[in-house]
């Protein structure tokens, strides 16, 4: 499987510490994201956003989490046979994982290039398919990780710290 890692400058230690011992999350939520269902996609992000808002997370951090999460949900709906979103809220960060049922990303580096898109006609008609989904997730995350290959499932996960 091909793998892609991005860790924002200055966050290397915090991310490594978390990955070494991620402890127990405070709230876990799971959502399914069906294939080509652009109305269900977004429900998970919306619920996570509402929860974090109630928890008092800073509005700019909240916006980054909401955008990254919504882009990832749309990606699952647009490009896969469906998948699940799993969100884990810790006291100082959130970790959201998206695992789908394939068909996988042939070239992750290429998929990360802004403007590169394999979206179909339906997604494009809705105004998706600008080739900015994965770049937007990266732009808003403190850490991002992708595991995929052609013919296989895809894992996209990101971590965003609250402060």
């Amino acid at each position: 499987m091909a793998e892609y890692w991005y860790i924002a400058e200055g966050f290397e230690n915090r991310v490594q510490e978390y990955l070494a011992d991620n402890g127990d999350s405070e709230v876990d939520m799971m959502f399914t994201v069906p294939e080509k269902d652009f109305n269900t996609a977004g429900k998970g992000s919306s619920e996570v956003k509402n929860l974090l808002k109630r928890l008092g997370v800073d509005s700019e951090v909240l916006r980054r989490i909401a955008v990254a999460s919504y882009e990832a949900e749309i990606n699952v709906a647009a490009h896969s046979h469906g998948g699940v979103m799993h969100s884990a809220v810790y006291d100082d960060h959130i970790h959201i994982r998206f695992e789908d049922e394939g068909p996988g990303i042939a070239d992750i580096e290429q998929a990360m290039i802004p403007g590169f898109s394999t979206a179909d006609e339906l997604a494009r008609e809705l105004g998706f398919g600008a080739g900015l989904g994965l770049p937007n997730i990266k732009k808003n995350s403190d850490a991002m990780h992708i595991v995929s290959e052609k013919g296989s499932s895809t894992l996209v996960e990101f971590i965003i710290f609250f402060s």
């Binding site: 652009f38 919306s46 956003k49 909401a66 955008v67 919504y70 809705l126 105004g127 998706f128 732009k139």
Partner: protein, 113 residues
């Protein structure tokens, strides 16, 4: 910063979410695009969004991005389900017969008199 209500008057806009008072919304700029990821990547909170897209995902994009008002150009009007969702999210929906160029120009003049 300018009141949305002032802008609506100048574009002869129609409010499709009358339960939301445009008098209570301040606009600090706008982003003009019909590509949803472009909006999520570049629009700033507090900006109006000028577009011709009017389906349900537009409301989600505005909500995630922190956009308080969407201006539909060229007479595009959102359907009831979209208006209901916008109300739920507290996003004001305005339509105008003007095109995006004119809508942008007028807002620019309102913000930078």
């Amino acid at each position: 910063m300018s009141k949305l209500s002032e802008y609506i008057a100048q574009i002869e806009g129609k409010n499709h979410t009358p339960a939301i008072d445009p008098e209570s919304i301040d606009i600090n700029g706008a982003y003009v695009s019909d590509m949803l990821s472009d909006v999520m990547g570049s629009a700033k909170p507090g900006q109006a969004w000028i577009t011709i897209m009017k389906h349900l995902n537009v409301i989600a994009v505005a909500s995630m991005t922190g956009i308080p008002a969407i201006i539909f150009a060229k007479g595009n009007t959102p359907d009831e389900a979209v208006c209901d969702k916008a109300l739920e999210e507290g996003i004001c929906l305005i339509s105008s017969n003007l095109d995006t160029f004119r809508l942008s120009g007028i807002l620019y003049r309102v913000l930078h008199p």
